[in-house]
Symmetry: C2
Subunit: 652 residues, 2 copies
């Protein structure tokens, strides 16, 4: 592996997002989701199921009497909230919020046991049973999320209290699990601790933290299988016993280095792969990296929806098999697309290849923000690409698909995951290595970044994803020679680039792995003007995808479009796109928070009054008549009336 | 209601099937299924799960020690076996088999309790709990099947032992359940006893037998709901508590007279509707008949597959909603199509309308016999219309769909149900009322039927469904004047009819409700020659069926065709039928037991080598090249190598 390729991210503190598209989402996270979730964690939302989360910590800390409430992984809800809140502080200071977090951290700390152990489920229900069911009882998952929260809060505020607590918990875990003879050979049932440990290691540089992450990665799937041993020893039930999953649900069917496919529970999977990529990068482990690359290729080229959704089946919220991408029974959990971004972001730090950033962009602008309503109060867990409301109600195979976003979930993983992703967006825009500063996402921001040893202000202004232009202003403290690498989006077929309004001839040698490498001398006020042509594009699937044979999807720029009943009447399945449709588009300020609408010619099957007649008739050729079609961005669907929705449309 | 329309069936003893198509199935039933099942019931099949059925009866009779084994409804397996075996005796005497049945009946009788009660599950596990869970514990279901067996054996042999036992059981049930204040207000959780009681009533003419059937029909779904009362009283669990089903699973959500739709568990549903039709006919109950007609229309015009399969979802093996007919995740239980035939047959006895016989024919030649392999040893429970073997293995939503027939099921309902249907085929061919003898099915047979008071030999010879010609020879003992009503099949667009080789001009007034009424004077040796044109037909669905928009199915005569990978290579979903395909067909004696193969021109999507490339690409128009297609009868699929199968093909 060429170590030159390793990149670092730019600390969030140096990047301030100022973006017409994303700022409103960040405001939602800050003003709506984070405060709302705090109320939820404290069981103060009258119409919602109680979370029990804060209560559990109080009981564990001995401040209060009572029973454990909620899921076995309930602690993680507070962790994700702290993490999101910490990220939001970086972007926008808020002493009141910071004080609330401090109080929450005090509570967490007071629940921690002498020996460093922390998990309210077992503290309340009996410590004698702790660490007996790694497979399903989420102790390491909760530890991982709380460790991520601690790292985020430390970076945001410099405060170490939670970080130190979590280091004690990690030390406790390290004493229990590892390769040594006196330790158990376990690893997380639900992954996340692996990548959390790597974040910790980046701070502490303590070998034991790295080693524990490595151990979890390497031990996973080794024979004899820990989850089997644990099952026998503790007489545990095994939900997936008769399933085709078996231990693949946990990505533990094989040692990770022997894995080739994205398998099992999709969120677990991408969290594991993220940890694998972290360890591969840090330890320059070619074999592990190759496993990451094989799994990446399998997932992205065979098991990912056009929206960046992953997880084809509600059964185990899981991957199924190659090219199995049903649009109507899909799972496509919001959290899974978020985890996909984590994985892509880590692959990008190993090799700056635009395919990784393309997937980040695809997921962010489509399958992730589809998870939240435009007013920030309702959420999708499942992100379908085709919806018939009646079927969601009356067909068990689609009962997990909701035609409208829900207020809050008992298993509230997606809303806080969305919040922490949106609030940490600044960390996804750039990476930097000794060769160049890579600009991956065209999100407006103002940043202070060291270029060739010189503190440089970089301002990006754009109305992306609606507008084709991006302006990058560089203001180094003094003139510098440096390379700026600009991602040419995968969706882009034609573009121009100017420096100070003078077009640059883009020759082949300027392009590397999907980036345009601009090596130049930069002085105060230099501007790079990018123009990405954004025509409406018709996209086809690989014909191996049965669900999409003979169909197309519509994109403009990174945005995937969809048809809603609201604009196109009932029976979206009766629509067809002519093979040479006329497209137009325009920005509508007042619709769905401001979107570019796409309009097209279309065809609609004539209702030949078979409706009330026979179910089966002698064939007569279908008659199609012209029908004007109105397309809206996929992420913005289900923000008006409940109705049908469709991404993939039949074509002539 | 015009009582003139009521028809009776012709006793099976008077109708001997001699049919090139069906005799082989009857031989299979007689020589394979019935003997095999007897071994299975006795736990003598080494590789199969034990049935425990005979054992349970022995334990209940005190002949043997042990625990109850198998499902709560295990007794019904013996009942269905006795019924099928009894039917087979009518067709073909077999003293050894008759003796085996007699011994089985002795065993059943010795298990019966003093008070008439009979259900080995409760006899073994404790009679104190009997009749406490009508909803799920199948006592009335077992009683119903055993009563049907008793009736069949009585008709076959004149022997009353089992019949008398069952009359005692019915009397016991009658003491427990009914409108009187001292009786419980219950009814069967799984219907079948209703129609069994009507068969009993036809023999006994005892009002109490009719009244009990009427009571079960009328009480169903009345508030307060018996199943709810029973649940509370006995602290029963309710599997469908959070389901959209609730009590609709049992067709008990509403009183039956208020029902408009085919709902819930499909087998239960059609068994109920059959009982409803029986009672409506016997009691001339217009309101009840109208409910039957509404439900019939809903089921047949909105919820039935082209193969006669019903039950769109594996969830509750149930109906879902109008026009929801997915081809790949379908349930389509063999038993449900059999029950559909029961219902249709009863509607036909009320009104001789060809729509009922059309459905019987459709189900018999397609969705029912698809349930059995050509060698009679393997069975489908589920009858899909589109199969991708990999998906059946790796997608939970299709795990119930098997790409090959299975040897024998733990829940062995379909094989004996197939056996009793095939062996009783003779009862479906004719009905008779004071107006005419109706010929519903063109199945070769020799019969003795009273026409206008004269014993008449009727011989039908045909190579239906492969051949277009049917010859009906009438040999009355003396010349008679009588009406023969010949069904014009729903699939038939053109036909000719001759009497003694002289064509008859078919005028409109000769046609009534889909039957050609031939009123004539018949003498010894008269022949009616029917010629139904059997071109290959392209069939379309009502466009409300989302799964079939833009697709067609192929039929010839009553036979639905399908494509198999074996003949058409992988990727059946890449095939398209041109809008004017060229069709040809020919009989292949040695293929799949002798079938008419259909061949057609076709188109296949070119594999544009996207296979190993991107999942999503800029649209280029699909390129289709010519591809010869070979179609086989749907029922004969999965008798060669495992592979893809498809009924509905895309069309240009």
């Amino acid at each position: 592996m060429n170590t030159n390729y390793f990149s670092k991210t730019i600390p969030m503190k140096q990047v301030t997002i100022k973006d017409s598209f994303w700022n409103s989402y960040m405001e939602l996270a800050k003003n709506k989701i984070i405060p709302y979730q705090w109320e939820a964690l404290n069981d103060r939302i009258p119409e919602a199921e109680p979370s029990h989360c804060i209560n559990n910590f109080k009981i564990a800390a001995g401040i209060q009497e009572g029973k454990f409430g909620g899921f076995v992984f309930q602690d993680s809800d507070l962790a994700k909230w702290i993490e999101a809140a910490a990220f939001s502080l970086v972007w926008c200071q808020n002493p009141t919020l910071e004080q609330t977090i401090d109080e929450a951290i005090d509570l967490v700390a007071s629940a921690q046991q002498e020996d460093g152990y922390l998990d309210t489920y077992y503290i309340i229900n009996g410590l004698e049973d702790r660490w007996t069911n790694l497979k399903d009882n989420h102790e390491m998952y909760c530890a991982g999320h709380m460790l991520e929260a601690a790292v985020a809060y430390y970076h945001a505020t410099g405060k170490r209290k939670l970080l130190d607590c979590m280091i004690r918990l990690v030390d406790h875990i390290d004493k229990m699990f590892g390769p040594e003879d006196d330790k158990k050979k376990g690893y997380p049932g639900h992954e996340v601790l692996e990548m959390a440990l790597m974040k910790l290691y980046a701070i502490t540089k303590e070998e034991k933290h790295l080693n524990l992450a490595k151990y979890f990665i390497n031990q996973r799937g080794q024979k004899p299988l820990y989850f089997e041993l644990e099952q026998e020893e503790n007489n545990l039930s095994f939900y997936w016993k008769d399933s085709y999953f078996q231990f693949q649900y946990y990505q533990a069917g094989l040692p990770v280095r022997e894995q080739d496919e994205a398998v099992g529970h999709a969120v677990r999977a991408v969290y594991l792969y993220s940890g694998m990529a972290d360890v591969a990068r840090e330890t320059k482990d070619d074999e592990l990296l190759q496993a990451c690359q094989r799994i990446w290729a399998n997932m992205v080229h065979r098991r990912m929806y056009i929206t960046g959704a992953i997880g084809s089946s509600s059964y185990g919220e899981s991957f199924t098999f190659d090219y199995d991408l049903p649009n109507d029974t899909v799972y496509g959990e919001t959290c899974a697309s978020i985890g996909l971004v984590f994985f892509a972001h880590r692959m990008l730090q190993i090799h700056p290849r635009s395919e990784y950033a393309d997937v980040i962009e695809k997921a962010l602008y489509n399958g992730i923000i589809s998870g939240i309503s435009l007013d920030g109060t309702k959420f999708f867990y499942v992100n379908p690409l085709e919806v018939v409301p009646e079927a969601c109600e009356k067909d068990q195979l689609r009962r997990h698909v909701k035609p409208e976003r829900q207020k809050w979930f008992g298993c509230a993983c997606c809303p806080p995951n969305l919040a922490r992703t949106i609030t940490s967006l600044a960390s996804y825009i750039y990476t930097q290595n000794d060769k160049a500063l890579y600009l991956h996402l065209y999100i407006g921001n103002e940043s202070m970044i060291d270029l060739s040893g010189v503190n440089t202000k970089i301002s990006i202004s754009t109305s992306y994803p609606w507008d084709e232009n991006v302006t990058i202003k560089l203001s180094p403290a003094r003139a510098i020679e440096s390379t700026i690498a600009l991602r040419i989006p995968g969706w882009c077929r034609a573009y121009t680039i100017c420096k100070n309004n003078v077009e640059i001839a883009v020759t082949k040698d300027l392009i590397q792995d999907g980036y345009l490498l601009l090596h130049d001398r930069w002085t105060e006020g230099d501007a790079i003007e990018l123009h990405f042509e954004m025509p409406v594009q018709m996209i086809r699937s690989n014909p191996m995808v049965r669900a999409n044979v003979g169909k197309v999807a519509i994109m403009r720029g990174p945005i995937v479009y969809c048809l809603e009943q609201e604009d196109n009447d009932l029976h979206l399945d009766w629509l067809k796109l002519p093979s040479n449709p006329r497209f137009s588009y325009h920005y509508e300020k007042d619709l769905l928070g401001g979107i570019v609408i796409v309009e097209s010619s279309g065809l609609k099957l004539e209702d030949q009054s078979l409706k009330e007649a026979s179910l089966y008739e002698c064939y007569t050729k279908d008659i199609y008549t012209e029908k004007h079609l109105t397309w809206i961005p996929y992420y913005s669907w289900a923000n008006r009336n409940v109705g049908e929705m469709l991404v993939w449309i039949k074509t002539e």
